[in-house]
Symmetry: C2
Subunit: 196 residues, 2 copies
Amino acid sequence: MTIYRHFYVKSHAKTSPDINLKDLPGSAGRLDVLARSVNAAFWLSYGIRKNVVFHTILHGEPNAPVYIRLEGEKLRKVSPDERSIAIFIGKALKKFDEKHEAESTPGIFVARKSFEELLEENKDKKFYLLDENGEDIENVRINNPFFILGDNVDLLPEEKEIALKYGAKAVSIGKKSYLTSHCIAILNWWMDRNEG
Amino acid sequence: MTIYRHFYVKSHAKTSPDINLKDLPGSAGRLDVLARSVNAAFWLSYGIRKNVVFHTILHGEPNAPVYIRLEGEKLRKVSPDERSIAIFIGKALKKFDEKHEAESTPGIFVARKSFEELLEENKDKKFYLLDENGEDIENVRINNPFFILGDNVDLLPEEKEIALKYGAKAVSIGKKSYLTSHCIAILNWWMDRNEG
């Protein structure tokens, strides 16, 4: 049986499809951070991790919140570089439909969804909130995981409360504050080691 | 006393400064891989790692080999996204001088240098060759490290031989084949934990 790994990254990226690919860190709302997080979640040297599902909700102007999901089993055509991933996020934003979830390209889905709705839909999983002050990952038995991370900005207190309401466990990979994409690469590796 | 961490990534990036920023994975010779490796080597959430030195030798057309070094203590102006790092690699290539090492922007140096010359200059450090079949990192006491990694292509047998001649120890972070940038993020984290 496949054990899936879910990652959620809150994003402040803009929610209009006219992304300036020359300015992912600026006018696109740190879309570079989100793109590297997607890279870290899926890519291995010779292919992508089919057991990963990546969730994000974009909170930028003008149409927040926009939920986007990437499924490793179905993902096609995307390359691991920031620009390619940003282009595919743009395609998803273009296909956004207020009423229905749309599959913009193979394995990429877009919909209107709040953070609380997302957790409600995934409450069969175990939520882990990445937090420097959480329990050291070494002492945590990771099981059926749904990891919750911020982008370059920490989650809001009310978002952390929602996560805790859904039973999230605060876990730490160390006292240093790492980039979101590095956290994801480390978590994937850590789970590889402990499954192996 | 600061313990420095040296990373060397062999690159197949092109050695002319006219980089097409829209095509880092293609005509630039997987410059995206190198850029993400630089990101993984230096960036933390709130600043860059001053104890890191990143070395690369570009092997692409038309002027290989071009050696570039980034020093965390002096690095300025570069942002963590692929495009910004690629722009600064381009600036270094523009300042390349056959006769002398040049500092193209703060903390970035460029020169003519072969892999063997690089190892000769750094033989006071301990070389570690990343290799899936090497000794598990868990069993290795990392000390004064100079890590040697390939980009998306493995090192050549003759390069591995040079490394071994300089006493390199083959170390493994697992049986899966990880992206170079992920290896670096994991190694940094691993050393953080073991220093802490």
